[in-house]
């Protein structure tokens, strides 16, 4: 039997970062990184943006090249799935090779999958989802000037695809079945700004609207909508959320709760098995220990690194401030911390340049979150400083946050 040492299931951002981090932390034993896809580990954020709208055919951007993994003496096994975990025997079984690998400790970084549209009206319809490089290539091939796109779902993925499609001259209709786009996790006033920007760019956004049925219409597919309209489309894309990949954990009888259930060390209920990234839910100290699950590149990266420390016996709790961005056209939506907490107060900072930046304060004045929409170069630094203020539990004062003459960085020193 192969001794895998620390075995990592999933070679996305979290799994790969964990592998690299284990070496940086001087783990000298074997590291085995098991990936579902045939490619070296690659970054997913460009898939909904440059990979769709760029002039040149996209090349996957490596998280770590095959050479870099080899140099770190990380055994990378691409194109493999794990059929099961034997927790007593400390082994995992690979498919298709049926090979057993012994683990000392195991990290599950199995990610999430695009939620599938399963209602009857979608059966038999060719629907694109976007999660992998292969998905991006398939969609890219369909995006051209004048093509009519129907995007089901007004979340991050749907809106990023809408922006990319407009950039190549396709016509875009977005239908969102709930009352507003970005209903999960984005403050209403920012969602309104983003909506306006898309409408200015020529996207048709229909909120509170779903598809009731499809029918063939020559070379196209006619989508009948719940508002009585219909759209004849060339391409149908769904961006209706992601579901954590928990089947392997469940088959091993590990606890799950909206993802693989881990503690603040990112450890499952088996002390030798950990989980990180989109697949896991964990308690976050900055929102009162509430259990959350994140689907964001930076969280995946930070959790991979944190899990590496925990795998080696560190006992620090994961308390990184959640943070993510979404590029749409030349603008970026940035969010850090917790921006939809009940009873929080929103304080806007008066900026120019079409940039909107606001802070979210708890009743006691503590900074909980910040959210922004505009050009990244105008906003990114302030959002980063907000992260640091949140991490340090600072109560900066609404008046100072609102006043653009007060440098945010000075608030870091004030406490």
């Amino acid at each position: 039997m192969i001794d895998g040492g620390i075995v990592i299931v999933g070679a996305g951002e979290a799994g790969t970062r964990a592998a690299i981090s284990l070496r940086q932390r001087s783990w000298t034993g074997p590291i085995t990184l098991i990936g579902l896809e045939d490619l070296p580990p690659y970054e997913r954020p460009p898939l909904s943006k440059q990979a769709l709208s760029g002039a040149a055919d996209p090349v996957p951007k490596a998280v770590a090249t095959a050479g870099a993994l080899a140099a770190d003496n990380i055994t990378y096994l691409p194109g493999m799935t794990v059929a099961g975990i034997d927790r007593i025997g400390h082994t995992v079984t690979l498919l298709p090779t049926q090979q057993d690998i012994r683990y000392e400790r195991l990290l599950l970084a199995t990610g999430a999958s695009a939620r599938q549209l399963t209602t009857e009206c979608y059966s038999g319809v060719d629907i694109h989802y976007l999660r992998s490089y292969a998905d991006a290539l398939k969609l890219r091939a369909k995006l051209r000037q004048g093509a009519q796109l129907l995007i089901v779902g007004g979340g991050f993925i749907g809106l990023e695809i809408a922006a990319s499609a407009r950039m190549v001259g396709a016509n875009v209709t977005v239908v969102e079945v709930t009352p507003r786009i970005l209903g999960r996790g984005v403050p209403q006033n920012l969602a309104t700004l983003i909506r306006q920007h898309h409408v200015q760019q020529g996207v048709h956004i229909l909120e509170g609207t779903g598809v009731t049925r499809f029918e063939a219409a020559g070379n196209r597919t006619r989508a009948h909508l719940s508002n009585g309209d219909s759209v004849d489309c060339d391409v149908i894309v769904a961006g209706v959320g992601a579901v954590p990949n928990v089947a392997l954990a469940e088959s091993a009888e590990l606890l799950t709760e909206n993802g693989i259930r881990v503690d603040a060390l990112l450890r499952t209920d088996d002390p030798d098995i950990f989980a990180a990234g989109d697949c896991c839910s964990f308690p976050h100290v900055l929102c009162g220990g509430r259990r959350i699950r994140l689907e964001a590149w930076r969280s995946a990266q930070a959790q991979g690194q944190h899990a590496a420390a925990s795998l080696l016996g560190a006992t620090a709790e994961y308390c990184v401030v959640p943070s993510f961005w979404s590029d749409q056209y030349e603008r970026t939506l940035l969010i850090c911390g917790f921006v939809t907490e009940p009873h929080s107060i929103i304080v806007e900072r008066n900026l120019t340049d079409d940039a909107h930046l606001q802070f979210h304060l708890a009743g006691d004045g503590r900074l909980l979150g910040a959210s922004a929409f505009g050009r990244n170069e105008v906003l990114a630094r302030d959002i980063r400083i907000a992260e640091l203020l949140i991490e340090r539990g600072v109560s900066p004062g609404a008046d100072r946050l609102a006043d653009p003459a007060v440098k945010l960085k000075s608030l870091l020193r004030a406490d």
């Binding site: 590149w297 990114a380 630094r381 400083i385």
Partner: protein
Amino acid sequence: MKVAKWIDACGADDIEVEDVLRFDHAGRTFAVFRSPDERFYATDGLCTHEQVHLADGLVMDHIIECPKHNGRFNYTTGAATGAPVCINLKTYPTRVDNGRVLIDVGTE
């Protein structure tokens, strides 16, 4: 042979302490830093990960953090110190003359 080529980048007081300024010259872009201990440093202006202007990022002590993906460099040495960056940043000699910051962009 490498020959020094000193270029006037900015006034010393144009950069705040523990901050950074973008400087473009002859089709190239640089980042000029003023450290907490009042020294000046210069590096290439774009992150080695995805070609983002570092001067829009946050300077903390001797670290510049990229404003897009939060990769980190020690701007005094150019060393990549935080994921996702893994390629070091090129650095350039600096000196201060009559309140002006000069950087040696070099010529081959």
